[in-house]
């Protein structure tokens, strides 16, 4: 990121454009429906937050570099060329006001996958040096320290010792040939160690072998969020190398949305090859164990629960039914928020947005959509399967003086495990 320049950014935009991007820009009829799907527009009524408008820089590059008509227009001075000030201005649109949630891509009548283009546009922004400080910091820490929050192996080992002492269970490191290699997000290590404890107990009950890797325990991928293929590839390759050297059958992406997208969908494309192991989200694994009768629970939560679908899990990952199967195992009063499932509203802080300090006010404003959803169902507690959603929503609830606890689905299931003592 040190040698960033407008020219490098322009070149990166150009590199990112493929047939799909060209078809999308050519097809857009400026109907504005994408705005109506975007929480940053619906909660602010600011037209500048219209998803397709956030892509103006990329559109300009496409028009001038990939169409004869656009080239002619700019040659005779009918259209203005992209410049560095444009990119400076667009940083707010491309990062602060987009969580890569993908609702826009669901509603476009000509079928444009708008969010996929935002992801691509970020590559150009990084190369041009117009990425947010907060995300640059997180990416640097991820590359140099191994975690966007700066969590190192000793911190994880300390948490592991605590959990082992509390539960009497063993948390294995670097076990070759295990059924599962479990990844974590820094957020889980620091704020929600209950997750790791829950995994240990569930795996024991299911009779599955599993392991952590001392080489690669961090699943979140700041490279995907900021939009840097180089960083994303480096972070994914650590996981791939660890999984392949340990010869595990499946890598489990933690309760995190973007980590799943990073490893499951972008990972092989970043590495340029398919993997020797499978990649599954923890919710997929838990639902498989349930279906095989290996996940046995007892008792029901009496309080009214609702489930927040992480964007990357539903719209970008196709994991919709699994968490509902699991919720029904342990909840008597499970209610769905309006738009739950495929069209669930984003927490407001995905795609790295939560790391952008200067966008906090906007995030709080956008959280109104989640507040409205919650007000509708009057749940006693909110369950989710993404540690980032969880943190962002905790902040949002606090900002609006809402007293609703948020629970991780995995730890909630573990609380109801049938265990032999």
């Amino acid at each position: 990121m040190s040698s960033a320049s407008f020219e490098r950014g322009y070149h990166a935009f150009k590199e990112q454009i493929d047939s799909s991007v060209a078809a999308y820009f050519q097809s857009c009829v400026s109907c504005g429906m994408c705005a109506e799907a975007c929480l940053f527009y619906t909660e602010t009524n600011n037209p500048e937050y219209t998803p397709i408008y956030k892509l103006e820089p990329l559109r300009k590059v496409w028009e001038q570099e990939y169409t004869l008509w656009g080239w002619l227009k700019s040659s005779i001075g009918l259209s203005r060329k992209l410049n560095d000030d444009d990119l400076k201005q667009w940083q707010h649109y491309i990062y602060d006001s987009c969580t890569l949630c993908g609702r826009c891509s669901m509603v476009c009548p000509v079928g444009n996958d708008i969010v996929s283009m935002i992801r691509k546009a970020r590559e150009g922004m990084v190369a041009a040096g117009h990425a947010p400080e907060g995300q640059i910091g997180a990416s640097k820490r991820a590359v140099t320290i191994g975690s966007p929050m700066g969590v190192k192996l000793p911190a994880l080992q300390a948490q592991v010792r605590h959990i082992e002492k509390d539960t009497g269970l063993t948390i294995p490191f670097d076990t070759e040939g295990a059924d599962y290699m479990v990844l974590l997000s820094s957020m889980e290590i620091m704020n929600f160690p209950e997750y790791l404890e829950a995994i240990a107990r569930i795996m024991k009950q299911a009779g599955k072998t599993w392991t952590l890797s001392s080489q690669a325990f961090e699943a979140t991928n700041s490279g995907i969020q900021i939009g840097s293929t180089d960083i994303a590839r480096e972070l994914v390759s650590r996981v791939v190398n660890a999984a392949e050297s340990l010869k595990v059958k499946t890598v489990i992406s933690p309760e995190c949305g973007h980590a799943y997208t990073a490893i499951r969908w972008e990972g092989p494309n970043l590495m340029g090859r398919s993997f020797d192991f499978k990649v599954k989200h923890i919710v997929e694994v838990l639902d498989e164990l349930r279906a095989q009768g290996l996940l046995k629970t007892e008792g029901f939560e009496e309080q009214r629960l609702t489930f927040h679908d992480p964007c990357q899990l539903v719209r970008r990952g196709g994991v919709v039914q699994q968490p509902r199967n699991l919720m029904n195992m342990i909840s008597e009063d499970f209610v769905e928020m309006p738009d739950a499932g495929m069209m669930n509203w984003c927490c407001g802080g995905g795609g790295g947005a939560a790391a952008i300090e200067e966008a906090e006010e906007l995030r709080t404003q956008a959280f109104m959509c989640k507040k409205n959803q919650l007000d509708e169902v009057k749940a006693d507690a909110l369950v989710t399967a993404c540690a980032n959603c969880r943190i962002v929503m905790e902040e949002g609830l606090e900002a609006y003086d809402m007293d609703i606890p948020i629970l991780g689905l995995t730890e909630l299931l573990a609380e109801h495990l049938v265990e032999e003592n």
């Binding site: 047939s19 999308y24 400026s30 504005g32 408008y53 196709g318």
Partner: protein
């Protein structure tokens, strides 16, 4: 040049040239898209990309329920225009005769009363589209010069056709010539504006649906 000669020119040279520009332009624009290419998706698939792509071509004709109340105006205006326009274009008896002459096969035409109604539907739809575009701050911001041009050249053939059919302007050969001329204007402008969405939306939907289908996402 008298009216008859004007009509002959409009039907002859002018028509052939504008059609040539249309065909060349559309082909160029489609090639500009397709020739860039796409990288293969190496992620292990959970569903069929091809099936997802084909499915999405059809499913996107229907609005997404979650935003429906917020986009009702745009949606209704758009549908009223498109349906009216295609009925007139494809099922007015003289149009069918023209297609038959060009392709060697035709299809049954609709009664003139239906065509009349469809024309008015299309014109009112376009007017509603324009009102939305002027009132809705998002659409107004997104709309560029080319979009206004596209709107205008789409409206012209509908209005001139309606006027010719009802003999609102005499002599008839002049009005008919003006109608054909307006269609030629549409053909020439078409490849260089968002009117291209007529063809490219199928590509866009396929690409999006293919990626989603590969991931096992039902969109």
């Amino acid at each position: 040049m008298n009216y008859a000669e004007f009509l002959i020119w409009v039907r002859g040279d002018a028509f052939h040239w504008s059609l040539a520009i249309f065909i060349f332009g559309v082909t160029l624009r489609l090639l500009e898209i397709i020739l860039i290419g796409r990288k293969a998706n190496l992620a292990e698939k959970r569903g069929s990309g091809v099936a997802g792509g084909i499915r999405t071509i059809f499913t996107r004709f229907m609005p997404n329920q979650a935003v429906l109340p917020r986009v009702m105006h745009t949606l209704v205006a758009g549908y009223v225009f498109h349906i009216g326009f295609f009925i007139v274009l494809l099922f007015f008896a003289p149009h069918v005769a023209l297609f038959e002459a060009a392709f060697g096969f035709g299809w049954p035409a609709l009664p003139n009363g239906v065509i009349d109604f469809a024309t008015i539907m299309a014109i009112l739809g376009l007017i509603a589209v324009l009102i939305n575009r002027l009132r809705n701050p998002v659409q107004r911001m997104l709309t560029g010069f080319g979009d206004w041009v596209a709107w205008f050249v789409t409206l012209l053939p509908l209005v001139t056709g309606f006027m010719a059919f009802h003999h609102l302007v005499e002599p008839y050969p002049l009005m008919l010539a003006l109608h054909i001329l307006s269609v030629e204007l549409l053909l020439i402008v078409f490849p260089f504006t968002k009117l291209m969405h007529t063809f490219t939306l199928f590509l866009a939907r396929y690409y999006t649906g293919e990626n989603a289908g590969h991931r096992g996402v039902e969109i």
